[in-house]
Symmetry: D2
Amino acid sequence: MYNGVNLDKLKEECGVVGIYHDSPEETARLVYYGLYALQHRGQESAGIAVNDGIKCNHYKGMGLVSEVFDDARLKEMKGHIGIGHVRYSTAGESYVGNAQPLVVRYRGGTIAMAHNGNLTNASKIRSRLEDDGLVFQTTIDSEVIVNLIARYSNEGVIAAIERTMGLIKGAYALTIMTEEELIGVRDPLGLRPLSLGKIGDNYALASESCAFDVMGATLIREVEPGEIIKINKNGIESTKYKNVGRRASCIFEYIYFARPDSILDGVSVYEARKNAGKLLALEHPVEADVVIAVPDSSIPSAVGYAEASGIPFGEGLIKNRYIGRTFIQPTQSMREIAVRLKLNPLKQNVEGKRVIMIDDSIVRGTTSKRLVKSLKNAGAKEVHVRVSSPPVAFSCYFGIDTPDKNQLIGGVKTVEQIRKIIEADSLGYISLEGLVKSTTLPKENLCLACFNGDYPIPVPNPEEKAFARYIGGE
Amino acid sequence: MYNGVNLDKLKEECGVVGIYHDSPEETARLVYYGLYALQHRGQESAGIAVNDGIKCNHYKGMGLVSEVFDDARLKEMKGHIGIGHVRYSTAGESYVGNAQPLVVRYRGGTIAMAHNGNLTNASKIRSRLEDDGLVFQTTIDSEVIVNLIARYSNEGVIAAIERTMGLIKGAYALTIMTEEELIGVRDPLGLRPLSLGKIGDNYALASESCAFDVMGATLIREVEPGEIIKINKNGIESTKYKNVGRRASCIFEYIYFARPDSILDGVSVYEARKNAGKLLALEHPVEADVVIAVPDSSIPSAVGYAEASGIPFGEGLIKNRYIGRTFIQPTQSMREIAVRLKLNPLKQNVEGKRVIMIDDSIVRGTTSKRLVKSLKNAGAKEVHVRVSSPPVAFSCYFGIDTPDKNQLIGGVKTVEQIRKIIEADSLGYISLEGLVKSTTLPKENLCLACFNGDYPIPVPNPEEKAFARYIGGE
Amino acid sequence: MYNGVNLDKLKEECGVVGIYHDSPEETARLVYYGLYALQHRGQESAGIAVNDGIKCNHYKGMGLVSEVFDDARLKEMKGHIGIGHVRYSTAGESYVGNAQPLVVRYRGGTIAMAHNGNLTNASKIRSRLEDDGLVFQTTIDSEVIVNLIARYSNEGVIAAIERTMGLIKGAYALTIMTEEELIGVRDPLGLRPLSLGKIGDNYALASESCAFDVMGATLIREVEPGEIIKINKNGIESTKYKNVGRRASCIFEYIYFARPDSILDGVSVYEARKNAGKLLALEHPVEADVVIAVPDSSIPSAVGYAEASGIPFGEGLIKNRYIGRTFIQPTQSMREIAVRLKLNPLKQNVEGKRVIMIDDSIVRGTTSKRLVKSLKNAGAKEVHVRVSSPPVAFSCYFGIDTPDKNQLIGGVKTVEQIRKIIEADSLGYISLEGLVKSTTLPKENLCLACFNGDYPIPVPNPEEKAFARYIGGE
Amino acid sequence: MYNGVNLDKLKEECGVVGIYHDSPEETARLVYYGLYALQHRGQESAGIAVNDGIKCNHYKGMGLVSEVFDDARLKEMKGHIGIGHVRYSTAGESYVGNAQPLVVRYRGGTIAMAHNGNLTNASKIRSRLEDDGLVFQTTIDSEVIVNLIARYSNEGVIAAIERTMGLIKGAYALTIMTEEELIGVRDPLGLRPLSLGKIGDNYALASESCAFDVMGATLIREVEPGEIIKINKNGIESTKYKNVGRRASCIFEYIYFARPDSILDGVSVYEARKNAGKLLALEHPVEADVVIAVPDSSIPSAVGYAEASGIPFGEGLIKNRYIGRTFIQPTQSMREIAVRLKLNPLKQNVEGKRVIMIDDSIVRGTTSKRLVKSLKNAGAKEVHVRVSSPPVAFSCYFGIDTPDKNQLIGGVKTVEQIRKIIEADSLGYISLEGLVKSTTLPKENLCLACFNGDYPIPVPNPEEKAFARYIGGE
């Protein structure tokens, strides 16, 4: 999340939006609102590109959507098609040159693309293209994709996308814009989400359906894994990329990334989280006086746990709503302040009580430890930690920023060891089965690799990210 | 609150902090953390002043504490005493010249002051001082106070403060700093809150106790109405300003302003809110399927209502956590977006359901109307609005930014009229008695003027704020 | 001057502008242009205040006039009277709180004031006012003046200014604005310049006449030493403060501060500088091949020297026109770069030549030394330094930022010692008589104290600036 | 030039720097100083890239070198090779994506390139590359060049550059950096300048030799037209691209673009300008009282004219040194102000006099007209305009921003017509022969196309710049 006090969470890498609209003045504005709703998916940079059939106008900058764009800027951006992007990125590669949408000129005109996800064979393809004399100006996989599309564009953009999909492996939800059409693409496994919506007679695309709500659109359906959706003046047309095997929707969207008011693959994220809380209560019951959440993301699970257990839900940690981007580190003697500043225990709900603290995930364990301590200092008699996802034990290669495997506490420690480290009175993780059940989706439709290492496609060697080392800009 | 989408709430005008500390390197930093915790009390400007016994160093700027201060700045500010201020202000008078602390040189050295509150006779005193040839450089009441203290400073600062308190009327919680002492002052009615805390052997002052939590301090007690607390190297000394009549703590601190993890006048704000929710359930029961809150401030009352009514609590409105300071207004055709952007209905908890929506207060009614509509659009079968405070019907003259009386919907419409306007299926406000009861404080200790017009001291004529019209700077 | 590479010059402390104009839309704009033309007198902060008869609107900020104001800002500032200020200040006291115009509310309404100069008895008066219970919020002398005016304002502003002039000692050129009038005041010695101009039927005031040129005004005359000029709807009215003795115009305005296209006290600054060059040639002739100037301020003297000596004028040092405010210091091994970056020798005019380098003044001698070295490295056979002012040997107390006396090379070294230090082949300063003659003014009309220590009024003890140590803000 | 008040001058498009240095800490800093000295060649954006043999680190931004870089930034940029770029650009295409150096990854590693100049067949090549499936992300020609180099890089970078030079036509001075070498390239006609310098044992490249002066380097020689200079740990190696015909150094570098303290193709820019002034005096003598320059660029010619004519040189127009980037336009009634703000007549040198005003060039004639009027208003009896270059009558296609031909007053009006338009008493342009003679270079070594339309290579059709219309970013 966008704040100075780093909570112990995985980081989503992007959100995308697209719209084909009949009133050119509103296009950029609608993309802007869509991105606003998807801001939780990336706070590092934001960008919008619009096309009026002749000229592609784009702007991108570092910061929140509301910081990058102002009214004057939006007013200059007219067009019947627009796409947008918000980005989170790992430190070091964070510079405006890597912001999206990527806008390029190719033989057919201009193509703009916004990409959420990560390829597993990007470096291999990049090398091959470099062998053919191509150059790359950014460190983002999207540049590889757009080069392939351009290369195969002789037979048209859709055909080129199909050919490209035959080559690239990994996770990608794309919104693509040419002078005439808006195109949505989702990888054959459906690793990253992408939805189709409608505003009046116009169509929109977005990573999550919550964007449609603020755009005034209605969710029609998911873009299917491997589907290419083309929207132009003739309406909408779907092409299905052939060799689709299993689906593999990212489980972490349900656990933490997506907004609770989104519906992904037909599943309410809120419901999934609440279900997980209920199942967690069944799997790891404990006698206690109050169920509290680590706000905000764990509230649905906590509400679910409370309902299933009969133990009342209460607010136990008050979140400071004004945490800024920069944060002045406390001196050693005030170390505990950093967590309190962000999450302050609510004594009245904690003092003298046996507390069940629901968290949606534990990555490194550092924050959990501080919160338990903080609650105990506030007078909690017992602190029972319940986690609505299993131990994160494997790195993600599909667009999520995970620490090195040896920093994943779930990968290197037993549950009992973790309990001791975080000084909880008891610790219970939901089972993988329970988690899957909470989503109501078949297990084979989900990517659970971060928990069980079962990657839906072969994962690359670590050198994959080496390119960034060569071109580090800003 | 700090955001582009204006929610229909009253606005607090300030938060103050003070500390007397033995390690000069940590003083400014502790003030900074204290202000960080009080950021909800004012997001327009922030300032810190420190004194090392010889020199008073201060800095103030427009924006959030985290924006105004950086590490380098804080490191330059060394001293054993420090005070700080965050400010919200009404439009038009918002410029850095009005930011606090106010630092002046007077015959005894320098005096720095941070003020929360509003005087009712400031213009009268100002006129009298002007008649004596004084000039005023700001439009804040604090400049009047500091001039009086300077004028009477012959017999010492404390004596001067006492004489000043004999002249000024209204609401004030002050932290004052000289070369040698930190002084905390609370007006004789105790209209605005001020607490005393301790960090090791050091003392701290803050508008709310939640600041102590992040400063690593413990709450000792409230500063009493009319009390002057002087803290210096000899420890702490209390003087009681004589003619104290009744107390009149601001009821709205309990309803909305204060953070739920604060304790004011010995009362847990969280508990008070939860109690109000419970009493509201008793006073205005209704058959329904789910109790939802207008987040974040109404959650405790909603939890209380749910507990008392037995109807399950659920999240019904998802708050966007990334609302920036600037916000691009939607065009007429997208008007509904503005509210959705900030608070999006959670369909799963709302669709086909009879919903009880708990709000802590209704000021103009505009947001309530949009939220009801939004919930209905999301499929709510019925929307029953329950408000954990009575109708706001009178303007505040003690430091709260209230709209003109004729814009207060509670002042000009009946409950039934309001219900119709906001298109709710039913509407229930807690009774004043219920609200008072929820705080556990005696009624005569509270200022309830915004509900019943019973001002604890005579209120000024509207010309009072006229000065601002003359010196409008930026 | 505004740049990172510090040239060895004295620093002017301010420029002021005022206008009484019949079209309220143009007032602020004209003040802006006037300040633009006076930007050389101060680059630290800029401010404008306008009054429409009812409300005084002001804005000030750190930076150049063009950075502080934009079109939108100016458009908001409407009024028939306007004053403006640009400020340079010594490090440490540089913060927006000290920027001008100072705008205060007093018994008669509002008064805004822009001040160029320095009082010699400000601290004494301030103490006395503090004894009466007054407070001070800034460290600028102007606050003392405005307090005195307010205090004596019973009998009207003009009378109050007269009484104030009876108390304050030192240098001041003021533009003062009330709801009804624009007032210009010049101290009885005329230490700091102030001129009166006319635009159509409207009147303007400015530190230098070059401001009138860009405002479209014509210079009428100087404001006389000790004169108070009141401009209102009835026209112009002059009051002469009584006890005027000698005049004492600052000689350094003619040497360096003023723009060459200004006329001060009836004297063309350009002519004075050129005359000084001519006289310098007569006083310190030397055989050489080329006369060069240290640009830009020494060009007129160099042209004069060339004319009188018959030795051709040429450009010998090329100035970088893009020196920014910040400048990254070279490492030790590149120390010489700093000067070269700013002033690069022009080999073609220097190599193998005997060069006469004209400088308008030498303060510390550091830059002179570097320039001589730089010219020699570029191949100059001989470098003869000629200075169109005598050695600066005494500190200024009237508004000019001079280093401590012991840092003034002219105060602690003989000419021959200085020559050796700066490694020049010869060094000649113009005589004081020569300099005076160059201005065509009688010697008794000039303040020559920085050269001969003959202060026109007693100068204060050094503690005078001590106040700044107490209130250091930012 | 960098200012709000647009003077009537042609605009240079870029400056480049390169260095191969043995102390990695100083590399970026030296590039920075070099760019500082070349700031007059472009004020829109600045960028630096360094390579430490493993990683290429780069940063670029909008604004002056001193605004884009600070100390912290430079300290992070370590490497033994560095290149830099400053850019001016025509409105509309001005965005950070077009800033340089361009840094790309290709099969051989990374390549960074800074380019001054313009290709005449860029769009043709770009189309051909697009046909092969390549994409372009910027609108700068440099991207075409770098793609060609990458494409031919099989046989090594130098061979690839040679092949590239065989394809591209137009003007280019390049500094190129790989992990191991710094390469300087100048187009076969030598249209844009590039020099080689030495710092101790290290080599440097720069558009103009004035950069070497501040870098502490000495000019060795020009990079020859068509020459490729490779600098690596083994020293320096020159390759000469084969088919070189005539040379065609840009004449405007001598007239206006280059700094007077630079030496280009062995010629002192200052001398050339002074010579032109002398010859102008012979070609267009006139009786007058004073010779003045339009500062700063015309001073050398004015000094030359004065010397040759015996009429004294004087300053007649005083330049405001604080013209900021933004400038608030005067209202219609103050139109004349805009020019005065920048260049104010010096009455003393003008009033009642016959004035010869030397200008280095007239492009549209608008400023000339205003200056003549301004001088007359200041009392000039006669104003004789003398121009040290012939009428600009043809557009440039080699890196200079010229207005459309029909806006070039020299292309559509006779000298007498121009004289009438600018209201001068007489007008004389130097002859082309005179101008050529002033440079001491053979006519066939110069590009004089803007005067005589004799382009050294065929020029493109106007559609060439059409690409920018498609990808307009920011």
